[in-house]
Symmetry: C2
Subunit: 351 residues, 2 copies
């Protein structure tokens, strides 16, 4: 690929020292050139760069890591079994955003699954050994000890989807509140008046925010919130079915359903069909996530899209800043950042 020149003349790979000798300069100067320091004259820089090219010099990462006490690597930690990782487009979108943003840098991305207890112990060791400069945490459950471990080890970290309003780690999230509002406002604008909500698992902060958005949108439109129209689900299809049955029982006259996820909307749709309700004629349906399910549903499902790829990019940005500062902001008396990215309603035939 590159021209290698005198590679391996003296056995192994060329070292900084050899490059220095070849360029007729000192070790420090070569190091400065390699690391892009401005304190090098143009002539010297050119000479060093020539020597680097001739020898096919590539820095030894281990030596650099040892001397500089950094690894130039960050981990994307997925506290889920691998199967979910592959099953849900969320992760591949996230990975794409992270990867694209990271390709601008010299940083290496490690993908680490921590679904099983065993994998978690491994991860703990890994972090204790400081084998990465920072950590990206996606899909974290409310009671997960990982964020606290990270904080304790003072490892820079960014979490996607804060665990609560008082999240201690730097976080990136989409606007769950605003997304839910836009869904409800959309239904109101379509003339629906009895709008039900199937919530996500309420121990997930984002799901709670969606409920808040649902409530406030109704209130701001001058409607009272009918608690009989709110039923908790658990993000699964079965949960969506169950909740829909309950809702139909309690309020047979409902004319719209806002589900906290597309998967739950799919479950709700089945129950509505079985009950003889037409979508959207009798009951309008709106989901959340704008996943593949939404596009392929019959009828296609109106849904709220989260900018997942962009969230990945934002996470990297925040993390790199934190790493550059060499430590978490809180240990320097600074505020943690909490980025919130806008969502977008994608209207389709179901509403």
């Amino acid at each position: 690929m590159a021209s290698h020149g005198a590679r391996g003349r003296s056995g192994g790979r060329p070292t900084l020292e050899e490059v220095a000798a070849r360029a007729g300069v000192g070790r420090g100067t070569v190091s400065r050139v390699i690391n892009g320091s401005p304190r090098v004259s143009d002539a010297t820089r050119a000479a060093v760069e020539a020597a680097v090219a001739e020898l096919g010099y590539v820095p030894n990462t281990a030596a650099r890591a040892l001397a500089a006490n950094r690894t130039d690597a960050i981990a994307l930690v997925v506290p889920e079994p691998e199967t979910r990782f592959f099953a849900e487009p969320y992760f591949s979108d996230m990975l794409r955003g992270v990867g694209s943003e990271l390709s601008e840098t010299e940083m290496q991305l490690l993908l680490i699954f921590a679904g099983s207890d065993r994998e978690r112990r491994r991860l703990a060791q890994y972090l204790a050994a400081h084998r990465v400069d920072g950590v990206l945490l996606v899909s974290v459950h409310a009671d997960d000890p990982l964020p606290d471990l990270l904080a304790q080890l003072e490892i820079p970290a960014v979490i996607s989807g804060p665990r609560s309003a008082g999240e201690t780690l730097t976080s990136v999230d989409s606007d769950n509140y605003g997304g839910a509002r836009s869904a409800v406002e959309h239904l109101l604008s379509r003339g629906r008046t009895r709008i039900a909500h199937i919530t996500g698992r309420l121990d997930v902060y984002g799901a709670k925010r969606r409920v808040d958005g649902y409530r406030d949108a109704l209130r701001d439109a001058g409607r009272e919130v009918d608690e009989l129209l709110v039923e908790p689900g658990d993000f699964t299809e079965e949960g969506g079915r169950r909740a829909m049955s309950v809702l139909l029982d309690r309020r047979p006259d409902l004319d719209a359903v806002f589900a906290g996820s597309d998967v739950m909307a799919a479950g709700a749709r089945q129950v509505l069909r079985e009950a003889g309700r037409r979508i959207p004629d009798d009951v309008a349906l709106v989901g959340y996530d704008d996943s593949a399910i939404a596009r392929h549903m019959d009828p296609p499902l109106t849904s709220v899209r989260q900018p997942i790829e962009e969230m990945g990019r934002a996470m990297i940005d925040l993390l790199l800043t934190e790493i550059a500062d060499r430590r978490p902001p809180t240990s320097r008396g600074l505020e943690r950042q909490h980025a919130v990215l806008p969502t977008q309603l994608v209207a389709r035939a179901s509403s």
Copy 2:
């Protein structure tokens, strides 16, 4: 998680030296204990282990890598864009096998995509820097320069699906020849006599082997191979459709089709339907890969399953051996290994 004891007493993480002092032994002895050398007395080992636990000592990977000239990491290189990686179950199965086998060891797995030119250049740098002890190469095209780069850099590597009969890298493959044979023998045993074959891309070695298996199975059953019944496809659905049309044109009396992949079988099925042939009554259909498509096809497709997860495990085994030997076998006058794992015919309603 673990008990940390005196972590950070003197600022940073404890070093080997500190553990040695605490245990009242020399640096070398601690190193031996850490690395599981047998040349340590039981009493000394116990003392060192106690000191390690008390101090919460975790070895510094960078220092170890520098001193020992190894990284304890291997890369799984996917020469495809990420999208394909997530789309095809092949990769997740492979990753599962690799991961499970690797979790027995201290090795770290890196997932590296090399779909774009840019990513490839990065990878070349990465390999030149010897940042991994070995490489797993999956899904390599015939003209890919990567295997040669690996050989030239003398980096231990194992490839899944050899590029040819004379593959220079250690390889793991499934028994394409035997798999094809079993498919054809199955059709023969069902009384089919005019069995067509839609091949895969013939610049893919595995596809060629399947053609060989098809031919030999017919010959060994005492039939002559009718070349008009063999038509090349390209692994795509469209290619399957095209090949099927050609075959139906040439041999309207065919009574079975063995497709070189499930996706091509799906294409063939469409054309057969349009031509008014019933499956399996008029024409029996067999695919290859036993992918999700096969199970969900109407009728469910008989297909040849490859033990992908097991292949992943086998790749790791071979790679670890090669790494332990510190260099590729060929540079030591030894033969490359080529493991071939058995396939299995999964009979369903289509045949």
